[in-house]
Subunit: 249 residues, 2 copies
DNA sequence: AAAGATTTGTCCGTATGTATG
DNA sequence: ACATACATACGGACAAATCTT
């Protein structure tokens, strides 16, 4: 393979960072699986067309993250990981879907706020576009301690005034909804787009700067068809595959 | 709202890049939908705690991408680039799904080949892993002349020996299947992953070198449940949003 | 129509960080 | 360790275009 991207000096990203990202990506794509090692610094330097010092900087950053381990006289060893499969279906639930693939699932509450509903949110929730107040819940999901996704959930303030406190007690949206009289709910629609992570997302999801994320917009509704939740979720693409099952009917 | 993250000076990402990312994200989240404009440079500079020139750099980068347009004396206008929505559901068809959103849909045949089935392909098609021959169809799909996706479709050679010629006549998989006795078929499963485009994909889809793609693995089956098609499709993420329909499941 | 406020465009210069040899 | 080159970031001043009063 060896298809590396050229280093872009005007991208606003320093050369060592770009190289670190590409090495990281090569590792993830399994390019070095045979040896379990990264090529020698001199080889990488020539391949990327940079000085060996720059490659050393890149490797140092990855070693800092624990992705690589440098051993003098031997080379640079790799530590690796797989993607989790996140099922998206009519009954999508965060913990149900990933439960079998990770030992420890965690959903951290980052912030809660009441804000006026934007047009998009109001339309999704089926509430008036003006003068509607929605509850905004920011959460970070982790699997075995590794950040998986960053979500913003919107609920109608009038319908679920105590969403925040219920969620803080259970750390689960499903349970918080049950406590507020929602017996069951369904995923109505999910839109998926792919893009580069913003710097903020890279920090929060512990990703490299040129990492890719999947952004999903989802609407959940009660059996009656009434929308109760609108969510924007940013998945770390390198750790997640979304699977849509359309088998049943 | 207005919750901007502080600029990280030690991240290896320049300030203007981080600011560009945050502005880009704010636009996507609809924060500026009311005015259709980005706040004045002086305001952004103060908000991010940087010099106005740095903000100008960030805006210049976004304007380069066509996301913003600057007008002297007036402000910086948002140019929302809309993506086509590609519905993925039980009855996913290329032309049906996009037909209403583009005037001209085209599916070009890049190559056809008969090859031994790989393990993955054989498993998906439900045929023996060894000594099975599959027909490999590479296609490029365009909407209004713009490349949308790059696909590789696999069919059991024994079941559809004339797939290539039928496809070349109709430029449609659905019609080619009909001619070979498949009255109807259904999407069984779809896996979605996000990643950076390879250099070859960038050329074929006319994308920048660091563009993002959505890679989908899909299996189609007849009413009987027998798998008839396995496809790997690479979507230009900047032009497509996948919509996973879970309404009628 | 004129004046003033707002906002982007452009120029100067200086300092710092990054990459190379 | 040092010299060099380049991109990045900051600070200030003014011009040009646009909008409001």
């Amino acid at each position: 393979m060896n298809e590396h991207f050229p280093i872009d000096r005007r991208s606003g990203i320093s050369a060592w960072k770009q190289i670190a990202d590409q090495i990281s990506r090569s590792i993830r794509s399994g390019e070095y699986d045979e040896t379990g090692m990264v090529p020698p610094e001199t080889v990488l330097a020539e391949r990327f067309g940079v000085n060996r010092h720059t490659v050393r900087n890149a490797i140092a950053a990855l070693a800092e993250d624990g992705m690589l381990r440098r051993v003098q006289g031997r080379g640079t060893l790799i530590e690796k990981r797989e993607r989790l499969v996140y099922p998206v279906g009519r009954r999508t639930r965060f913990s149900d879907g990933l439960g079998s693939q990770a030992h420890d699932l965690e959903m951290r509450l980052l912030s809660t706020r009441s804000v006026p509903a934007s047009e998009q949110v109001a339309a999704a929730l089926g509430i008036p576009a003006t003068q509607s107040i929605v509850l905004k819940l920011d959460t970070l999901s982790l699997a075995d301690g590794e950040p998986i996704s960053l979500s913003t959930h919107y609920f109608d303030q009038r319908r679920f005034p105590d969403m925040a406190s219920h969620f803080e007690r259970h750390h689960s949206i499903t349970r918080a909804l049950v406590e507020q009289g929602v017996e069951d709910y369904f995923r109505v629609s999910t839109e998926v787009t792919g893009r580069l992570a913003t710097s903020e997302e890279s920090v929060r999801l512990r990703l490299a700067s040129t990492a890719v994320v999947l952004e999903t917009l989802a609407v959940n509704a009660e059996s009656s068809g009434q929308a109760i939740q609108f969510s924007r979720t940013i998945f770390a693409a390198e750790r997640i595959t979304l699977r849509l099952d359309t088998q049943g009917l």
